[in-house]
Amino acid sequence: MSGTVITLFLIIVALTLVITYYAAKKTKTADEFYTAGGGLNGWQNGFAIAGDYLSAASFLGIAGMIALNGFDGFFYSIGFLIAYLVVLFIVAEPLRNLGKYTLADMINSRFDAKKVRAVAALSTITIVIFYMIAQLVGAGALIQLLFGLDYWAAVLIVGVMMTIYVLFGGMTATSWVQIVKAVLLMIGTLVISFLVLYKFNFNIVNMFHEMKTITPLGSDYLNPGVKYKMPLDTLSLMLALVLGTAGLPHILMRFFTVKNAKNSKKLGCNCYMGYWHFLCFNDFLRVWCSGICGI
């Protein structure tokens, strides 16, 4: 652990806590707590969605998957990306038009049955629990690495921080924390991408050639089929990625935080601006990262 890393980390924690403090002062009603009173504009929400997508799973997990499994890891990036089109084309507008807080509320308004609502709530909670376990493990491992803490302490710290953000600041705080996170990660991505490319004199073909020679997989590394050997494995992974990501509760909930459907479409277009740019760079980064990992 180095002094610079710890200082940087503490600055970011302090910044997010300040955001939470101001958001908490503004949050009074249920509407403000759950959907930031519908008071975020398209750009802000676009960045917040980009932040949601830029989770530990996508930022660290996919880079690792590509580093270990080559092209098969890249499938994850593509699945996440196309899931965004599913959200934009099929989910966003109808969902926002109903004006509810959660997916369970939405299903309830359509079908008006308590049992259906209970099942929807249960499914949301189940998804979120599994999703959160993965995020906590990722973030905990990172803090453990940075500070040399025990693993359980690292996970506890992350859990307490997450709870503070959400409990006190509601949707306003989480949105702003996501916006800050998205901007930071995009800048980081750009810098790292540049550095990796610089290492290869901006020659991508050469970079691929190097990648092949440094992994234990050899030339298999650049071909699909390293991890997913059965065709059905690949197909079911791709199906789960494209529909699963589009259905994540915390992504869907974002569409309730803008004033109306028009803004939600604006959100769509802006988040494609923010998100696409990020994703494209980020995915190059992932490939490059894996290139540099072995060197």
Binding site: F71, P231, K262, K265
Partner: protein, 116 residues
Amino acid sequence: MEKGKQTQQKGRKHIDYESIASSSKFKELISTKKKFIISGSIFFLVFYFALPILTSYTTILNKKAFGEISWAWVFAFLQFIMTWVLCTMYVRKAATFDRLADEVISENINKGEVGA
């Protein structure tokens, strides 16, 4: 839009929803929207699933395109370009849909007020 919504709610009892639903303008809005959404969705799903299908059932994409970069990587990067293009198209189309919807709303609100 917000303002229009409020006026619409105020004048709710004067608006004949069935006549709006059967008006040609509204039908045109819904059908153009449906056409675009459905064809767009089918296109990106086919484009998306073509990649895993081609990589798992055939090896044609393993041929080299540029140096060590195989066609599988090229197709994967094309997915990004496709997403970009479809998003741009959606944003443009959405602006048209919003304009058509506003026209339908304003026409019927005027009618409603006259009726009152």
